[in-house]
Symmetry: C2
């Protein structure tokens, strides 16, 4: 088992994966561990949809890209021109070549949903590192609105997707991206 | 150093602390580690304010409670009647008897701020466990609006508080709160 230091050092955003499935029992172990994440009032609002099928992932990628571009055209969101070009590229898959994506979703009635899902996401990311897997939170994959797609993912009405996390065995571990020192605004003693 | 399994098992929401300061170098180590948390586009928007003074914490607790009650009275938020009673109790300190609170804040212009700060918060919580410390994310402490209070915390205009995390040496480790099994809506293979 890895130490915390190893987990910290080894976690990366992974966007290139081996052509190898993630065993279902490993995914379930990771999701089981993620239930230990704290949530506001221990409400445990996180729900999970696991997609292991690359064709389905491609279709979800296409829908998410199209919806995000629609939002841009309708001025519901801003996007840099680089991003617009990438989203218009039919060959660009927001999930890269990952073998699996885990959607974390939950009820829109839960005020703390974004925080609760992000905390669960961090547990999933660490749990993946622990098992030699890599992850990336792919926000671009979250724009799923078609009722049929949501039904396919088992996401009920009144729930929204917070975090699509791709997961798989990394082809290689990229260099750590740069970090600035902690931005401490004030220490009051 | 603890293994991931130990970290998972030992992390609790801690609300009762020993009367013992957290050394500044330990806090800095934990904040340094938290910079390794992922953030959207590696934007690293998290900012930290550290309050080690119980009088200041009491004043911030009082302000936060008053603002939240104001929001309730003005129908900007809903609260259960139990909560209202607790908030009206002058002796209730949202930070309990913690020796320290770390405020995580960031620019309102960052669309992913809630997720980015929650991910950093999870690193802080694990980093605390690793060092025998306990934490609790105290949302009730986040309703700080007085420009003087924000200035005291070094939080610039255009920034908002996401996560106040209390931290200190636990008086005791409470039993683990119950968790349900992971709520897996669908597995698509």
């Amino acid at each position: 088992m890895m130490t915390f230091k190893e987990l910290l050092e080894k976690r990366r955003a992974i966007r290139d994966f081996q052509d190898k499935k993630v065993p279902q029992n490993i995914l379930e172990e990771i999701l089981q561990e993620s239930t230990l994440a704290p949530s506001a009032s221990n409400d445990q609002p996180c729900r999970f949809s696991v997609v292991n099928c690359k064709n389905t992932m491609k279709a979800l990628s296409d829908e998410s890209k199209a919806n995000l571009l629609d939002d841009f055209v309708n001025k519901k969101t801003s996007l840099s021109s680089n991003y617009v070009d990438v989203l218009k590229d039919k060959n660009f898959n927001v999930f890269y070549n990952a073998p699996c994506v885990i959607y974390i979703s939950g009820s829109t009635r839960v005020g703390s949903l974004d925080w609760d899902c992000a905390l669960a996401a961090s547990y999933i990311m660490f749990g993946a590192v622990e098992r030699g897997l890599g992850t990336c939170w792919v926000h671009l994959g979250s724009y799923i609105r078609d009722p049929q797609s949501k039904a396919l993912l088992g996401i009920p009405d009144g729930c929204r997707i917070v975090a699509p996390i791709i997961i798989g065995y990394p082809k290689e571990i990229p260099a750590a991206s740069e970090r600035h020192v902690p931005q401490i605004l004030k220490v009051i003693s």
